[in-house]
């Protein structure tokens, strides 16, 4: 079948299934529609073939407008004609088992894949008619409209019936789904966290900068709870869409091969006994190394303060913090290196884990304690209007270090809970966890 006529047949089934045109009126409607389509096509072809080469500018625009207007009129006319036919036929003859069946099949057909639809519908129609005839034989009389409707309804919603014939029923299959679900949850949490931190901190920093007199105050348009929630929802939706799209593509290419192409050897080298993937240790090693290099290259002040760097200088407590940070980073790199080289040394990793957490908390405690002497304002570069800046900076470092301490403490507690629970439930199980 030609694509155009297949499209036309699908359109007819669609208008019939929606009840816009009655089944009895369909042949007449179809003929009328075809005649109108050909007439319209002839008018347009004639218009463009003869007048097209000679018109420019305004005249051309006028012709295009006329074309659009006629197309609109055509569709309005077609629908009006269909509605009129439907009205006439329904008034003349109420619904019958035959019309209901045709309507049902039309609805099923509108959801079927092109190319197979006619064959599937013909088979379904034959089976349905046989079933109705059987029922009629049982009853000894023709079926009423209600009885026919009961049979059709028992077959199920047209969309579900058609869905059974579709080759693939899922976007992300069972093989890929666990990875998809894990990644989706992780990315949604990260996106939500980053968005909330950014949404809360940006206005705070702006107001601090304005209070300090570094920038003229101005009102952000559209600030408030609704834009915050709306943009947040859009961000989460975008993350959901992007992750789903990536995994749908992966499902297409990897879904089947994943179940076949794997070896136990790969599995044993893919993760360490502590459950952290090997690549994660590699990333830790490289990222911490780069960060440590930055701290060494920029010895006097953190390089990532951005524009604020021109107004701030390191305070008396800064050198101690810098050395402590370097030591922590060195410890993290040693830990990652040990995990990569000797993944079986799990007892050592537990020691690292506890020591690092303790050292991290101690450093944050020191930061909080020495927050007033961590950074000082470079008064030589601060404008005369910004006398409030030292107080603002003092408050920022105080509350910033307090927040960091609280968050780190909560994360440590949260991550320690499973170990604590295991230890409380069974001390032996905890011992096994660290020694296996």
């Amino acid at each position: 079948m030609k694509p155009a006529s297949s499209l036309f047949a699908r359109y007819l089934r669609f208008v019939e299934s929606r009840g816009w045109v009655a089944a009895e009126a369909l042949p007449l409607f179809s003929r009328g529609l075809r005649a109108m389509l050909w007439t319209l096509a002839a008018i347009f072809v004639g218009l463009y073939a003869f007048a097209g080469p000679f018109v420019r500018g305004e005249a051309l625009r006028a012709i295009l407008l006329v074309t659009l207007w006629w197309t609109f009129l055509f569709f309005a006319w077609a629908l009006g004609l269909g509605a009129l036919f439907t009205l006439i036929f329904r008034l003349a003859r109420p619904a019958t088992p035959g019309t209901l069946t045709r309507k049902y099949l039309g609805a099923v057909g509108s959801y079927l894949p092109a190319g197979q639809d006619e064959d599937i519908l013909a088979e379904l129609a034959a089976n349905l008619r046989s079933e109705m005839e059987d029922r009629e034989a049982e009853l000894g009389r023709p079926l009423t409209t209600e009885e026919a409707e009961t049979i059709l309804k028992r077959h199920g919603h047209p969309m579900l019936v058609a869905g059974r014939y579709l080759p693939r029923q899922h976007l992300i299959g069972p093989a890929v789904f666990p990875f998809y679900w894990f990644t989706l949850k992780t990315f949604l949490w990260i996106a939500a966290l980053v968005y909330v931190v950014a949404a809360v901190s940006v206005p705070f920093i702006q107001s601090m900068v304005q209070i300090a007199g570094l920038q003229a105050p101005h009102q952000e348009p559209g600030s408030g709870a609704w834009p915050f929630l709306l943009i947040g929802a859009v961000v989460l939706l975008a993350v959901f869409g992007a992750v789903t799209l990536v995994f749908a593509v992966l499902e297409n290419f990897l879904g089947r091969s994943l179940a076949k192409n794997w070896t136990v050897k790969d599995l044993s080298t893919a993760t360490t006994p502590h459950g952290k993937p090997r690549w994660e240790w590699m990333v830790t090693l490289v990222a911490t190394g780069l960060f440590a290099a930055c701290w060494l290259v920029f010895p006097n002040f953190p390089w990532n303060l951005g524009p604020a760097g021109q107004y701030l200088l390191p305070g008396a407590a800064w050198p101690s913090v810098r050395i402590a940070m370097l030591l922590l980073m060195a410890a993290a790199m040693v830990e990652a290196g040990v995990h990569l080289a000797r993944p079986e040394w799990t007892q050592l990793s537990t020691v690292f884990l506890v020591a690092q957490r303790a050292a991290g908390l101690a450093l944050l405690g020191y930061l909080f304690h020495a927050s007033d002497s961590l950074v000082v304002v470079n008064l030589a570069r601060v404008p005369a209007t910004s006398h409030g800046l030292p107080q603002i900076v003092g408050q920022c470092t105080y509350y910033g270090s307090l927040m960091a301490l609280l968050i780190a403490g909560m994360i440590d507690l949260f991550q320690s809970l499973p170990y604590l629970r295991r230890w409380l439930v069974s001390p032996r199980a905890t011992a096994r966890l660290f020694t296996v």
Binding site: A122, L124, A126, R129, S130, L160, R164, Y165
Partner: protein, 124 residues
């Protein structure tokens, strides 16, 4: 009792059996509706929405062949087992017999101590 859980497990249990039943029944030529009726009459009722797409899928896999033919002044699509389908069916039946006897042995083995207390024929 968890009705939904039971229903899911029942459907899972029936899924493989349905294919076997359809293939076995199509050693004789049938069209969709008559096949469904014939299976239902023998105690293997199948939903239309499961059977009709299943027939097409089995045909695509080469296990069935079909033919449009007029019967009682109406065109119908008749299915029957293909030569490849026959070979697969005999393999599947062999497998089924094996599974059936293994299951019987397992179930009877589990019930032996109970039946000695509860009496005979209760679980048949």
């Amino acid at each position: 009792m968890n009705v939904e859980l039971f229903e899911n497990l029942r459907l899972e249990l029936r899924r493989g059996c349905l294919i076997l039943a359809v293939l076995a029944e199509l050693r004789t030529e049938h069209y969709g509706y008559v096949l469904r009726k014939s299976l239902a009459d023998r105690g293997m009722a199948i939903d239309e929405n499961t059977l009709y797409p299943l027939l097409r899928r089995l045909e695509t896999q080469g296990l069935l062949v079909s033919q449009w033919r007029e019967e009682e002044k109406r065109n119908k699509r008749f299915y029957r087992l293909s030569p490849e389908g026959e070979a697969i069916l005999s393999q599947l039946l062999e497998e089924w017999t094996g599974i059936n006897s293994s299951l019987n042995r397992i179930i009877e083995g589990d019930n032996l101590p109970q039946s000695s207390h509860a009496g005979n024929g209760e679980n048949s």
